[in-house]
Symmetry: C2
Subunit: 214 residues, 2 copies
DNA sequence: AGCTGTGAACCGTTTCACAGCC
DNA sequence: GGCTGTGAAACGGTTCACAGCT
Protein backbone atom coordinates (compact mmCIF):
# COMPACT_ATOMS: atom_id res chain seq x y z
CA UNK A 1 0.00 0.00 0.00
CA UNK A 2 0.85 3.62 -0.07
CA UNK A 3 -0.50 6.72 1.58
CA UNK A 4 1.25 9.36 -0.47
CA UNK A 5 -0.77 12.06 -2.12
CA UNK A 6 -2.32 10.82 -5.33
CA UNK A 7 -1.97 13.04 -8.41
CA UNK A 8 -5.16 14.26 -9.99
CA UNK A 9 -3.79 13.07 -13.33
CA UNK A 10 -3.59 9.55 -11.91
CA UNK A 11 -7.25 9.59 -10.93
CA UNK A 12 -8.21 10.84 -14.34
CA UNK A 13 -6.25 8.01 -15.98
CA UNK A 14 -7.84 5.45 -13.70
CA UNK A 15 -11.13 6.17 -15.45
CA UNK A 16 -9.40 5.45 -18.74
CA UNK A 17 -8.04 2.15 -17.48
CA UNK A 18 -11.48 1.22 -16.24
CA UNK A 19 -12.99 1.99 -19.62
CA UNK A 20 -10.41 -0.20 -21.32
CA UNK A 21 -10.66 -3.05 -18.85
CA UNK A 22 -14.43 -3.00 -19.22
CA UNK A 23 -14.02 -3.48 -22.96
CA UNK A 24 -11.56 -6.32 -22.43
CA UNK A 25 -13.94 -7.97 -20.02
CA UNK A 26 -16.73 -7.84 -22.58
CA UNK A 27 -14.66 -9.78 -25.08
CA UNK A 28 -13.54 -12.26 -22.43
CA UNK A 29 -9.92 -11.32 -22.23
CA UNK A 30 -8.85 -12.48 -18.79
CA UNK A 31 -5.43 -11.02 -18.32
CA UNK A 32 -3.57 -7.87 -19.39
CA UNK A 33 -0.05 -6.65 -18.85
CA UNK A 34 0.85 -3.06 -18.03
CA UNK A 35 2.50 -2.67 -21.39
CA UNK A 36 -0.54 -3.91 -23.31
CA UNK A 37 -2.82 -1.69 -21.28
CA UNK A 38 -0.42 1.18 -21.87
CA UNK A 39 -0.51 0.61 -25.58
CA UNK A 40 -4.29 0.70 -25.64
CA UNK A 41 -4.37 3.96 -23.71
CA UNK A 42 -1.31 5.62 -25.24
CA UNK A 43 0.55 5.60 -21.96
CA UNK A 44 3.80 4.00 -20.87
CA UNK A 45 3.86 0.68 -19.04
CA UNK A 46 5.61 2.34 -16.12
CA UNK A 47 2.86 4.92 -15.92
CA UNK A 48 0.21 2.25 -15.74
CA UNK A 49 1.99 0.34 -13.01
CA UNK A 50 2.73 3.44 -10.98
CA UNK A 51 -0.87 4.65 -11.19
CA UNK A 52 -2.25 1.31 -10.07
CA UNK A 53 0.46 1.00 -7.46
CA UNK A 54 -1.02 3.89 -5.50
CA UNK A 55 -3.94 1.71 -4.55
CA UNK A 56 -2.28 -1.57 -3.68
CA UNK A 57 -0.87 -4.49 -5.55
CA UNK A 58 -3.34 -6.20 -7.79
CA UNK A 59 -0.94 -7.39 -10.41
CA UNK A 60 0.58 -10.82 -10.67
CA UNK A 61 4.30 -10.94 -11.41
CA UNK A 62 5.00 -12.76 -14.58
CA UNK A 63 1.49 -12.65 -16.01
CA UNK A 64 -0.01 -9.20 -15.51
CA UNK A 65 -3.38 -8.07 -14.17
CA UNK A 66 -6.53 -10.15 -13.93
CA UNK A 67 -9.05 -8.16 -15.96
CA UNK A 68 -12.11 -8.96 -13.86
CA UNK A 69 -10.44 -8.19 -10.58
CA UNK A 70 -8.85 -5.02 -11.89
CA UNK A 71 -12.22 -3.87 -13.16
CA UNK A 72 -13.83 -4.44 -9.80
CA UNK A 73 -11.00 -2.78 -7.91
CA UNK A 74 -11.12 0.28 -10.14
CA UNK A 75 -14.88 0.53 -9.79
CA UNK A 76 -14.52 0.42 -6.05
CA UNK A 77 -11.70 2.97 -5.96
CA UNK A 78 -13.55 5.34 -8.25
CA UNK A 79 -16.83 5.05 -6.42
CA UNK A 80 -18.71 3.56 -9.33
CA UNK A 81 -21.25 2.15 -6.93
CA UNK A 82 -22.49 5.69 -6.34
CA UNK A 83 -24.52 8.04 -8.46
CA UNK A 84 -24.06 11.79 -8.41
CA UNK A 85 -26.71 14.44 -8.74
CA UNK A 86 -25.72 17.22 -11.09
CA UNK A 87 -27.17 20.69 -11.58
CA UNK A 88 -27.06 22.29 -15.00
CA UNK A 89 -27.07 26.08 -15.16
CA UNK A 90 -27.64 27.80 -18.48
CA UNK A 91 -29.76 25.97 -21.00
CA UNK A 92 -28.66 27.57 -24.23
CA UNK A 93 -27.40 25.62 -27.23
CA UNK A 94 -24.63 23.93 -25.33
CA UNK A 95 -26.55 23.42 -22.09
CA UNK A 96 -29.48 21.78 -23.80
CA UNK A 97 -27.16 19.57 -25.82
CA UNK A 98 -25.55 18.43 -22.59
CA UNK A 99 -28.95 17.83 -21.01
CA UNK A 100 -29.82 15.38 -23.74
CA UNK A 101 -26.38 13.78 -23.74
CA UNK A 102 -26.71 10.23 -22.53
CA UNK A 103 -23.05 9.81 -21.69
CA UNK A 104 -23.40 11.29 -18.22
CA UNK A 105 -25.98 8.91 -16.84
CA UNK A 106 -24.01 5.98 -18.23
CA UNK A 107 -21.31 7.11 -15.81
CA UNK A 108 -23.48 7.59 -12.77
CA UNK A 109 -23.94 11.31 -13.30
CA UNK A 110 -27.61 12.30 -13.20
CA UNK A 111 -28.65 15.77 -14.18
CA UNK A 112 -31.52 16.27 -11.78
CA UNK A 113 -32.04 20.01 -12.07
CA UNK A 114 -31.59 22.70 -14.70
CA UNK A 115 -31.78 26.46 -14.44
CA UNK A 116 -31.95 29.46 -16.70
CA UNK A 117 -32.80 33.14 -16.47
CA UNK A 118 -34.70 33.24 -19.75
CA UNK A 119 -38.43 33.31 -18.94
CA UNK A 120 -39.25 31.66 -22.26
CA UNK A 121 -37.24 28.60 -21.30
CA UNK A 122 -38.51 28.21 -17.78
CA UNK A 123 -41.02 25.42 -17.46
CA UNK A 124 -39.80 23.59 -20.54
CA UNK A 125 -38.70 20.00 -20.13
CA UNK A 126 -35.60 18.27 -21.47
CA UNK A 127 -35.16 14.59 -20.74
CA UNK A 128 -37.53 14.77 -17.79
CA UNK A 129 -35.79 17.77 -16.30
CA UNK A 130 -37.89 20.92 -15.94
CA UNK A 131 -36.04 24.20 -16.37
CA UNK A 132 -36.39 26.35 -13.26
CA UNK A 133 -35.51 29.98 -12.58
CA UNK A 134 -32.19 30.72 -10.94
CA UNK A 135 -34.06 32.06 -7.94
CA UNK A 136 -35.07 28.50 -7.11
CA UNK A 137 -31.53 27.21 -7.37
CA UNK A 138 -30.58 27.50 -3.75
CA UNK A 139 -33.55 25.59 -2.43
CA UNK A 140 -33.42 22.84 -5.04
CA UNK A 141 -29.66 22.26 -4.84
CA UNK A 142 -29.84 21.96 -1.09
CA UNK A 143 -32.96 19.81 -1.22
CA UNK A 144 -31.58 17.35 -3.75
CA UNK A 145 -28.16 17.21 -2.18
CA UNK A 146 -26.37 18.31 -5.32
CA UNK A 147 -22.62 18.76 -5.19
CA UNK A 148 -21.73 18.75 -8.88
CA UNK A 149 -22.66 21.39 -11.40
CA UNK A 150 -22.21 22.31 -15.03
CA UNK A 151 -22.00 25.99 -15.81
CA UNK A 152 -22.85 27.00 -19.36
CA UNK A 153 -24.08 30.56 -19.04
CA UNK A 154 -22.66 33.58 -20.89
CA UNK A 155 -19.31 34.78 -19.60
CA UNK A 156 -20.65 37.92 -18.01
CA UNK A 157 -23.09 36.02 -15.80
CA UNK A 158 -20.74 33.20 -14.87
CA UNK A 159 -19.24 34.60 -11.67
CA UNK A 160 -22.60 35.58 -10.21
CA UNK A 161 -24.07 32.19 -10.94
CA UNK A 162 -20.99 30.45 -9.55
CA UNK A 163 -21.40 32.40 -6.33
CA UNK A 164 -25.01 31.27 -6.05
CA UNK A 165 -24.06 27.65 -6.72
CA UNK A 166 -21.34 27.71 -4.09
CA UNK A 167 -23.56 29.44 -1.58
CA UNK A 168 -26.07 26.65 -2.18
CA UNK A 169 -23.47 24.02 -1.35
CA UNK A 170 -22.12 22.88 -4.71
CA UNK A 171 -18.54 21.57 -4.50
CA UNK A 172 -17.55 21.11 -8.14
CA UNK A 173 -18.10 23.22 -11.24
CA UNK A 174 -17.48 22.12 -14.80
CA UNK A 175 -17.13 25.57 -16.29
CA UNK A 176 -17.84 26.19 -19.97
CA UNK A 177 -17.81 29.97 -19.61
CA UNK A 178 -14.59 31.59 -20.79
CA UNK A 179 -13.82 33.40 -17.55
CA UNK A 180 -11.53 32.82 -14.59
CA UNK A 181 -13.88 32.01 -11.74
CA UNK A 182 -13.08 33.07 -8.24
CA UNK A 183 -14.03 30.33 -5.82
CA UNK A 184 -13.15 29.38 -2.26
CA UNK A 185 -10.54 26.76 -1.46
CA UNK A 186 -12.95 23.88 -0.95
CA UNK A 187 -14.62 24.22 -4.36
CA UNK A 188 -13.10 22.57 -7.42
CA UNK A 189 -13.45 24.10 -10.87
CA UNK A 190 -12.51 22.53 -14.17
CA UNK A 191 -12.42 24.97 -17.05
CA UNK A 192 -13.69 23.72 -20.39
CA UNK A 193 -12.81 26.67 -22.55
CA UNK A 194 -13.36 25.23 -25.99
CA UNK A 195 -12.00 28.13 -28.01
CA UNK A 196 -8.96 28.41 -25.85
CA UNK A 197 -8.16 24.71 -26.14
CA UNK A 198 -8.50 24.79 -29.88
CA UNK A 199 -6.42 27.94 -30.20
CA UNK A 200 -3.73 26.47 -27.98
CA UNK A 201 -3.54 23.39 -30.18
CA UNK A 202 -3.39 25.62 -33.22
CA UNK A 203 -0.51 27.63 -31.80
CA UNK A 204 1.76 24.61 -31.77
CA UNK A 205 1.16 23.65 -35.35
CA UNK A 206 1.02 27.21 -36.61
CA UNK A 207 4.56 27.21 -37.88
CA UNK A 208 4.07 24.35 -40.29
CA UNK A 209 0.55 25.12 -41.26
CA UNK A 210 -1.94 27.53 -42.53
CA UNK A 211 -4.01 30.03 -40.64
CA UNK A 212 -5.07 32.77 -43.01
CA UNK A 213 -4.30 36.43 -42.53
CA UNK A 214 -7.46 38.34 -41.88
CA UNK B 1 14.56 37.63 -25.07
CA UNK B 2 14.63 33.97 -24.54
CA UNK B 3 14.70 30.98 -26.80
CA UNK B 4 13.96 28.24 -24.34
CA UNK B 5 11.12 25.87 -25.00
CA UNK B 6 7.80 27.41 -24.03
CA UNK B 7 5.43 25.31 -21.91
CA UNK B 8 2.04 24.54 -23.41
CA UNK B 9 0.48 25.72 -20.15
CA UNK B 10 2.09 29.11 -20.69
CA UNK B 11 0.53 29.47 -24.14
CA UNK B 12 -2.85 28.51 -22.75
CA UNK B 13 -2.54 31.15 -20.03
CA UNK B 14 -1.50 33.78 -22.56
CA UNK B 15 -5.00 33.54 -23.99
CA UNK B 16 -6.35 34.21 -20.52
CA UNK B 17 -4.15 37.25 -20.08
CA UNK B 18 -5.25 38.53 -23.46
CA UNK B 19 -8.90 38.12 -22.50
CA UNK B 20 -8.35 40.07 -19.30
CA UNK B 21 -6.28 42.78 -20.88
CA UNK B 22 -8.94 43.21 -23.55
CA UNK B 23 -11.51 43.83 -20.82
CA UNK B 24 -9.22 46.31 -19.09
CA UNK B 25 -8.68 48.11 -22.35
CA UNK B 26 -12.44 48.46 -22.87
CA UNK B 27 -12.84 50.24 -19.56
CA UNK B 28 -9.83 52.44 -20.23
CA UNK B 29 -7.48 51.04 -17.64
CA UNK B 30 -4.05 51.91 -18.94
CA UNK B 31 -1.71 50.00 -16.70
CA UNK B 32 -1.73 46.72 -14.80
CA UNK B 33 0.79 45.08 -12.50
CA UNK B 34 1.58 41.37 -12.58
CA UNK B 35 -0.01 40.92 -9.18
CA UNK B 36 -3.27 42.61 -10.23
CA UNK B 37 -3.38 40.58 -13.42
CA UNK B 38 -2.64 37.48 -11.38
CA UNK B 39 -5.49 38.24 -9.04
CA UNK B 40 -7.92 38.61 -11.91
CA UNK B 41 -6.85 35.31 -13.41
CA UNK B 42 -6.29 33.35 -10.19
CA UNK B 43 -2.60 33.00 -10.84
CA UNK B 44 0.47 34.15 -8.95
CA UNK B 45 2.28 37.34 -9.85
CA UNK B 46 5.45 35.34 -10.47
CA UNK B 47 3.59 33.10 -12.88
CA UNK B 48 2.35 36.07 -14.87
CA UNK B 49 5.80 37.62 -15.10
CA UNK B 50 7.48 34.36 -16.04
CA UNK B 51 4.92 33.62 -18.74
CA UNK B 52 5.27 37.04 -20.30
CA UNK B 53 9.03 36.89 -19.87
CA UNK B 54 9.28 34.10 -22.43
CA UNK B 55 8.41 36.60 -25.13
CA UNK B 56 10.48 39.62 -24.19
CA UNK B 57 10.27 42.42 -21.74
CA UNK B 58 7.19 44.51 -22.10
CA UNK B 59 6.79 45.53 -18.49
CA UNK B 60 7.91 48.76 -16.92
CA UNK B 61 9.68 48.49 -13.59
CA UNK B 62 7.83 50.33 -10.91
CA UNK B 63 4.54 50.70 -12.72
CA UNK B 64 3.62 47.44 -14.44
CA UNK B 65 2.46 46.67 -17.96
CA UNK B 66 0.90 49.10 -20.42
CA UNK B 67 -2.48 47.53 -21.17
CA UNK B 68 -2.71 48.58 -24.81
CA UNK B 69 0.79 47.46 -25.66
CA UNK B 70 0.43 44.19 -23.83
CA UNK B 71 -2.81 43.50 -25.67
CA UNK B 72 -1.16 44.11 -29.02
CA UNK B 73 1.88 42.04 -28.13
CA UNK B 74 -0.25 39.11 -27.00
CA UNK B 75 -2.38 39.31 -30.14
CA UNK B 76 0.74 39.21 -32.24
CA UNK B 77 2.28 36.32 -30.28
CA UNK B 78 -0.91 34.30 -30.39
CA UNK B 79 -1.54 34.89 -34.06
CA UNK B 80 -4.81 36.73 -33.55
CA UNK B 81 -4.39 38.32 -36.96
CA UNK B 82 -5.13 34.93 -38.47
CA UNK B 83 -8.32 32.95 -38.80
CA UNK B 84 -8.46 29.19 -38.74
CA UNK B 85 -10.71 26.90 -40.70
CA UNK B 86 -12.22 24.16 -38.60
CA UNK B 87 -13.94 20.93 -39.62
CA UNK B 88 -16.70 19.54 -37.44
CA UNK B 89 -17.31 15.80 -37.57
CA UNK B 90 -20.41 14.36 -35.98
CA UNK B 91 -23.46 16.60 -35.90
CA UNK B 92 -25.45 15.06 -33.05
CA UNK B 93 -26.71 17.00 -30.07
CA UNK B 94 -23.29 18.21 -29.08
CA UNK B 95 -21.96 18.76 -32.57
CA UNK B 96 -24.91 20.86 -33.63
CA UNK B 97 -24.73 22.89 -30.42
CA UNK B 98 -21.08 23.62 -31.19
CA UNK B 99 -21.94 24.55 -34.77
CA UNK B 100 -24.28 27.24 -33.55
CA UNK B 101 -21.91 28.39 -30.80
CA UNK B 102 -20.77 31.89 -31.63
CA UNK B 103 -17.75 31.77 -29.34
CA UNK B 104 -15.51 30.14 -31.92
CA UNK B 105 -15.78 32.74 -34.63
CA UNK B 106 -15.25 35.47 -32.05
CA UNK B 107 -11.83 33.88 -31.60
CA UNK B 108 -10.94 33.53 -35.24
CA UNK B 109 -12.07 29.92 -35.49
CA UNK B 110 -14.42 29.39 -38.43
CA UNK B 111 -16.26 26.14 -38.79
CA UNK B 112 -16.27 25.87 -42.56
CA UNK B 113 -17.30 22.24 -43.00
CA UNK B 114 -19.38 19.69 -41.13
CA UNK B 115 -19.75 15.98 -41.67
CA UNK B 116 -21.99 13.15 -40.53
CA UNK B 117 -22.81 9.61 -41.55
CA UNK B 118 -26.54 9.94 -40.92
CA UNK B 119 -28.27 10.30 -44.29
CA UNK B 120 -31.12 12.24 -42.70
CA UNK B 121 -28.73 14.96 -41.60
CA UNK B 122 -26.78 15.29 -44.81
CA UNK B 123 -27.76 18.36 -46.76
CA UNK B 124 -29.12 20.19 -43.76
CA UNK B 125 -27.67 23.57 -42.95
CA UNK B 126 -26.54 24.98 -39.61
CA UNK B 127 -25.25 28.52 -39.52
CA UNK B 128 -24.49 28.48 -43.24
CA UNK B 129 -22.63 25.20 -43.05
CA UNK B 130 -24.06 22.33 -45.06
CA UNK B 131 -23.64 18.86 -43.58
CA UNK B 132 -21.74 16.59 -45.94
CA UNK B 133 -21.15 12.86 -45.93
CA UNK B 134 -17.87 11.60 -44.48
CA UNK B 135 -16.91 10.34 -47.90
CA UNK B 136 -16.47 13.94 -48.99
CA UNK B 137 -14.27 14.79 -46.03
CA UNK B 138 -10.94 14.16 -47.63
CA UNK B 139 -11.56 16.34 -50.63
CA UNK B 140 -13.13 19.22 -48.70
CA UNK B 141 -10.55 19.29 -45.91
CA UNK B 142 -7.73 19.39 -48.43
CA UNK B 143 -9.53 21.91 -50.60
CA UNK B 144 -10.29 24.33 -47.79
CA UNK B 145 -6.90 23.93 -46.17
CA UNK B 146 -8.34 22.83 -42.86
CA UNK B 147 -5.93 21.91 -40.09
CA UNK B 148 -8.20 22.01 -37.04
CA UNK B 149 -11.07 19.66 -36.30
CA UNK B 150 -13.68 18.91 -33.71
CA UNK B 151 -14.60 15.28 -33.26
CA UNK B 152 -17.98 14.60 -31.71
CA UNK B 153 -18.95 11.20 -33.05
CA UNK B 154 -19.86 8.16 -30.97
CA UNK B 155 -16.91 6.44 -29.28
CA UNK B 156 -16.94 3.41 -31.53
CA UNK B 157 -16.54 5.49 -34.69
CA UNK B 158 -13.99 7.93 -33.32
CA UNK B 159 -10.77 6.16 -34.29
CA UNK B 160 -11.88 5.53 -37.87
CA UNK B 161 -12.95 9.12 -38.32
CA UNK B 162 -9.73 10.38 -36.74
CA UNK B 163 -7.75 8.31 -39.23
CA UNK B 164 -9.67 9.86 -42.11
CA UNK B 165 -9.13 13.37 -40.73
CA UNK B 166 -5.42 12.81 -40.34
CA UNK B 167 -5.10 11.24 -43.75
CA UNK B 168 -6.80 14.35 -45.12
CA UNK B 169 -4.19 16.58 -43.50
CA UNK B 170 -5.77 17.72 -40.25
CA UNK B 171 -3.19 18.57 -37.57
CA UNK B 172 -5.31 19.10 -34.44
CA UNK B 173 -8.29 17.27 -33.02
CA UNK B 174 -10.50 18.48 -30.21
CA UNK B 175 -11.85 15.09 -29.19
CA UNK B 176 -15.19 14.79 -27.43
CA UNK B 177 -15.37 11.02 -27.83
CA UNK B 178 -14.44 9.06 -24.72
CA UNK B 179 -11.69 6.99 -26.31
CA UNK B 180 -7.90 7.12 -26.42
CA UNK B 181 -7.11 8.06 -29.99
CA UNK B 182 -4.06 6.69 -31.68
CA UNK B 183 -2.44 9.39 -33.78
CA UNK B 184 0.94 10.02 -35.33
CA UNK B 185 3.53 12.23 -33.67
CA UNK B 186 2.77 15.36 -35.67
CA UNK B 187 -0.94 15.43 -34.79
CA UNK B 188 -2.12 17.07 -31.59
CA UNK B 189 -5.19 15.79 -29.74
CA UNK B 190 -6.94 17.42 -26.82
CA UNK B 191 -9.40 15.15 -25.06
CA UNK B 192 -12.60 16.74 -23.85
CA UNK B 193 -14.09 13.83 -21.97
CA UNK B 194 -16.90 15.53 -20.08
CA UNK B 195 -17.95 12.62 -17.92
CA UNK B 196 -14.40 11.84 -17.00
CA UNK B 197 -13.67 15.42 -16.01
CA UNK B 198 -16.76 15.61 -13.86
CA UNK B 199 -16.08 12.25 -12.24
CA UNK B 200 -12.50 13.26 -11.53
CA UNK B 201 -13.70 16.42 -9.80
CA UNK B 202 -16.20 14.36 -7.85
CA UNK B 203 -13.52 11.94 -6.68
CA UNK B 204 -11.71 14.67 -4.79
CA UNK B 205 -14.73 15.89 -2.89
CA UNK B 206 -16.21 12.45 -2.40
CA UNK B 207 -14.98 12.10 1.15
CA UNK B 208 -16.81 15.13 2.47
CA UNK B 209 -19.86 14.84 0.34
CA UNK B 210 -22.71 12.84 -0.89
CA UNK B 211 -22.88 10.50 -3.81
CA UNK B 212 -25.69 8.05 -3.26
CA UNK B 213 -25.30 4.31 -3.20
CA UNK B 214 -26.99 2.74 -6.16
C1' DA C 1 11.34 -15.87 -18.84
C1' DG C 2 8.00 -12.53 -18.02
C1' DC C 3 6.08 -8.99 -15.60
C1' DT C 4 5.08 -6.36 -11.33
C1' DG C 5 6.20 -2.85 -7.72
C1' DT C 6 8.96 0.81 -6.47
C1' DG C 7 12.95 3.64 -5.07
C1' DA C 8 15.88 6.84 -7.60
C1' DA C 9 16.84 9.81 -11.37
C1' DC C 10 15.02 12.92 -14.33
C1' DC C 11 12.40 16.61 -16.36
C1' DG C 12 9.19 20.35 -16.86
C1' DT C 13 6.86 23.77 -14.37
C1' DT C 14 5.97 26.80 -10.55
C1' DT C 15 7.44 29.49 -6.74
C1' DC C 16 10.92 32.06 -4.32
C1' DA C 17 13.72 35.80 -3.69
C1' DC C 18 16.29 39.47 -4.98
C1' DA C 19 19.06 42.60 -7.98
C1' DG C 20 18.05 46.24 -10.91
C1' DC C 21 15.19 49.81 -12.89
C1' DC C 22 11.78 53.66 -12.82
C1' DG D 1 8.56 52.43 -2.90
C1' DG D 2 6.83 49.73 -6.27
C1' DC D 3 7.33 46.53 -9.68
C1' DT D 4 9.79 43.86 -13.33
C1' DG D 5 12.87 40.14 -14.99
C1' DT D 6 15.19 36.14 -13.91
C1' DG D 7 18.46 32.83 -11.92
C1' DA D 8 18.02 29.38 -8.30
C1' DA D 9 15.33 26.37 -5.39
C1' DA D 10 11.36 23.64 -4.76
C1' DC D 11 7.82 20.88 -6.34
C1' DG D 12 5.10 17.40 -8.74
C1' DG D 13 4.87 14.12 -11.89
C1' DT D 14 6.95 10.81 -15.27
C1' DT D 15 10.38 7.65 -16.68
C1' DC D 16 14.12 4.54 -15.63
C1' DA D 17 15.91 0.48 -14.10
C1' DC D 18 16.11 -3.33 -11.42
C1' DA D 19 15.17 -6.45 -7.43
C1' DG D 20 11.89 -9.81 -6.51
C1' DC D 21 8.01 -12.74 -7.33
C1' DT D 22 5.56 -16.60 -10.02
Amino acid sequence: MNNKKIPEATISRLFVYLREVTELDKVNIRTISSSDLGERTNLSDAQVRKDLGYFGQFGVSGSGYAVGELKQSLEKILGKDKTWNVAMVGVGHLGSALLTYSGFSRHGLEIVAAFDTDIRKIGKTFENVVIKPIDDLSKIVAGKNISLSILSVPAREAQDVADILIEAGVKCILNFAPVSLNVPEHVKVKDMDLSRELETLAYFVAGKTNGKNK
